[in-house]
């Protein structure tokens, strides 16, 4: 892999159908602080990974593989991938 550097950002969230206990509690706390107009709050994980790849597509493909092999459990989680060149 030639030396181009990419910052991969992965958001891992619980499936929409599933209860998100943290989201419920954070939602209430924000309302308690006076924030209005909040419809939904979901709390999940964010993973930043700096990797070497030949191009953007390869970086995305590597990230996809990381998610399916380790980072996200499809039984309960979905993921979104963002990639920037460093």
């Amino acid at each position: 892999m030639s030396g181009r550097k990419f910052k991969v950002g992965i958001d891992i969230m619980l499936l929409p159908e599933l209860l998100d206990p943290q989201g419920v509690v954070v939602h209430k706390a924000l309302q308690q602080l006076g924030f209005q107009g909040i419809e939904k709050v979901r709390v999940g994980k964010h993973i930043d990974i700096d990797i070497e790849a030949s191009d953007r597509e390869e970086a995305i493909q590597i990230a996809e593989e990381m998610c399916s092999k380790l980072l996200a459990n499809p039984v309960v989680e979905t993921y979104r991938i963002h990639v920037e060149e460093l």
Binding site: P21, Q22, V25, V26, A29, Q32, L33, V43
Partner: protein
């Protein structure tokens, strides 16, 4: 002298602390509900304990949401009027989140929850928590936390040393303080601190968990006895 033990939703060591103060030490203790706007009947010179547990499930960050409870304003007023506060484990996290104590507690370096008996060395005896205990004494006070790593920036740390605000450090049985005797990666093995005015105290170890020989150890009782003794002066 009177004690108040705060109950947040998710606190789970409130009844333990209440038992040690009331049944073991025979002290005058009251529960304080987190929704109350005042800390009556407590007043100047009295002690409020923020007990261990998982207030609001420790969701988002340990202590992040509990600090929004009405009782916290009343506690700040209590301190301004000459009252005292001791935060144990979750209580320490809440006091840091509320800005009543410097620094923050983050995830242990092994990324896991740790519950075990733990040796701590007393760093200063001129505080209410340690005035009955000589400097350098080693006590066995159990820890039980996942976010117990104390972090504070270097400038603040320097001023805390200068002002004798470091109470306990994680050590081994003979009081040695090194990386290997540090269970969670806290800066300088710090296990307990206080504010500049010596009115607000925070410690990750649970003194109520080594307070009865009947169960196995009572080193932790000396912390509560020191406070009673100091308050009685």
């Amino acid at each position: 002298m009177r004690w108040g033990v705060v109950i947040f939703p998710g606190s789970n060591c409130d009844r333990d602390v209440f038992h040690v103060l009331k049944d073991v030490l025979g002290e005058d203790v009251h529960f304080l509900w987190h929704k109350n706007g005042s800390v009556e009947p407590l007043g100047e010179g009295d002690w409020i304990i923020l007990p261990g547990g998982f207030s609001y499930g420790d969701y988002l960050r340990a202590g992040a949401i509990a600090r929004l409870s009405p009782i916290m304003k009343a506690i700040k007023r209590h301190v301004e009027k000459g009252g005292y506060v001791l935060g144990i484990c979750n209580g320490f996290q809440i006091l840091c989140e509320a800005g009543l104590l410097p620094g923050a507690l983050v995830m242990n370096t092994n990324g896991r929850f740790i519950c075990q008996p733990q040796y701590v060395r007393v760093e200063t005896s001129n505080t209410p928590l340690t005035n009955l205990i000589a400097d350098g004494t080693v006590l066995n006070i159990p820890i039980a936390h996942k976010e117990g790593r104390y972090y504070v920036d270097n400038e603040t740390l320097k001023s805390m040393y200068a002002n004798d605000q470091i109470l306990f450090k994680y050590s081994d049985e003979s009081g040695v303080v090194t990386d290997t005797t540090n269970p969670n990666g806290s800066v300088d093995n710090i296990a307990g601190v206080c504010d500049a005015n010596k009115q607000v105290f925070g410690m990750m170890p649970h003194p109520e968990r080594s307070a009865e020989q009947l169960i196995g150890n009572d080193d932790g009782l000396q912390i509560f006895k020191s406070i009673v003794q100091w308050a009685g002066k």
